[in-house]
């Protein structure tokens, strides 16, 4: 992920002058609004790249459309006869929109990114890297390890055997359903917090933010 320190959430209002025609334009634009020339990567966050409000519930279809539209406009073929500087700008802009798109379309990465923009620390950043090996391993509950190991053994057995043992099949199937259920529950919980964060007042927002940090921290 690109360093967040270059990002400035208040920068949309700051006018930037086009390198080509000298007309001031909104900083988040990749192309000058006056002369349409490609601009160097703006120092804005991923939401601003796609002119989206900083929300967790986003319209993925229109995000994809916008990404494709910008990708086409930045395609190297369009800059084959452009100046060296313009070619560089278009490449750097492409890298930016690729990173932005990959981050925003993924529900967990989007949440993590927004929380970091809001100043939260997630996972290892506040758990600390310097804990001893034994301590780190012991964070995985022993019964979960047993369960995962046993499931892997059963899956191996199913893969190798010609005759599928129906009892084993149903056992593994049930485990699969159990894990999907847990995943769905987590997804539901996360989406509930998204709505609270997007639409809530300051207090609701703070509470939702804490909940989401806790949810994401459970991955470690």
């Amino acid at each position: 992920m690109s360093p967040l320190k270059v990002l400035n959430s208040d920068s949309t209002a700051v006018p930037v002058v086009c390198w080509s025609c000298a007309v001031a334009h909104n900083e988040s634009t990749l192309f000058c609004t006056a002369c349409s020339k490609v601009q160097p990567p703006p120092g804005v966050d991923y939401f601003q790249v796609f002119n989206l409000p900083r929300h967790l519930q986003i319209d993925l279809a229109s995000l994809e459309q916008e990404f494709h539209k910008l990708s086409r406009k930045l395609h190297p073929d369009r800059f084959a006869r452009a100046t060296e500087a313009e070619r560089e700008f278009s490449l750097a802009d492409t890298a930016l929109i690729n990173d932005a798109y990959r981050t925003l379309r993924d529900p967990v990465r989007r949440t993590e990114y927004l929380l970091k923009l809001e100043g939260e620390e997630i996972g290892e950043e506040h758990a600390g890297h310097n804990t001893g090996n034994a301590e780190r391993t012991s964070r995985v509950p022993a019964d979960l390890l047993e369960e995962v190991f046993e499931l892997n053994m059963q899956l191996d057995e199913l893969r190798e055997g010609d005759q599928k043992d129906p009892a084993l099949l149903s056992e593994v199937g049930a485990a699969g359903e159990k894990f999907s259920g847990m995943l769905n529950e987590l997804d539901g919980n996360l989406q509930h917090q998204w709505a609270l964060w997007d639409d809530g007042d300051a207090a609701t927002r703070t509470a939702a933010q804490k909940q989401m940090v806790a949810l994401l921290d459970r991955r470690r």
Partner: protein, 137 residues
């Protein structure tokens, strides 16, 4: 980055795959896992009660080539060592031997953890006090 030849060799011909009788007092079992990648590793040792020498070691790992190679190498290295000598094995030595790239270092950490866990289990079974060295880790 491609796997080193040593990793591929261990992956194709893993040493000491299998299991030992978990209930035996001479056997220590270590089960460890990395939640980041989903790898799980079981490493078992059988210790001679007279000499405290690890006479047999078995492993079973579900994970990537580097995790399998790391645990395979770990079983080779602990065999013939005393319990205390085996505790000296560092993950950095595994990294060096297998030429693991930075993104696979956690596999070697997992193997070291598995050795420690197996020895810890054996010590618990046999009422051997944890050494200061082991506790510090």
């Amino acid at each position: 980055m491609a796997y080193s030849e040593k990793v591929i060799e261990h992956y194709n011909n893993p040493r000491n795959v299998g299991q030992l009788d978990k209930s035996s007092t001479e056997v220590g079992t270590g089960l460890v896992g990395a939640p980041e990648c989903g790898d799980v590793m079981r490493l078992q040792i059988r210790v001679n009660p007279e000499t405290q020498i690890i006479e047999e070691a078995k492993f079973k790992t579900f994970g990537c080539g580097s995790a399998i190679a790391s645990s395979s190498l770990a079983t080779e290295w602990v065999k013939g060592k005393t319990v205390e000598q085996a505790l000296e094995i560092k993950n950095t030595e595994i990294v060096k031997e297998l030429a693991l790239p930075p993104v696979k270092i956690h596999c070697s950490v997992l193997a070291e953890d598995a050795i420690r866990a197996a020895i810890g289990d054996w010590k618990k079974k046999n009422n051997v006090a944890e050494t200061a060295e082991a506790v510090a880790h």
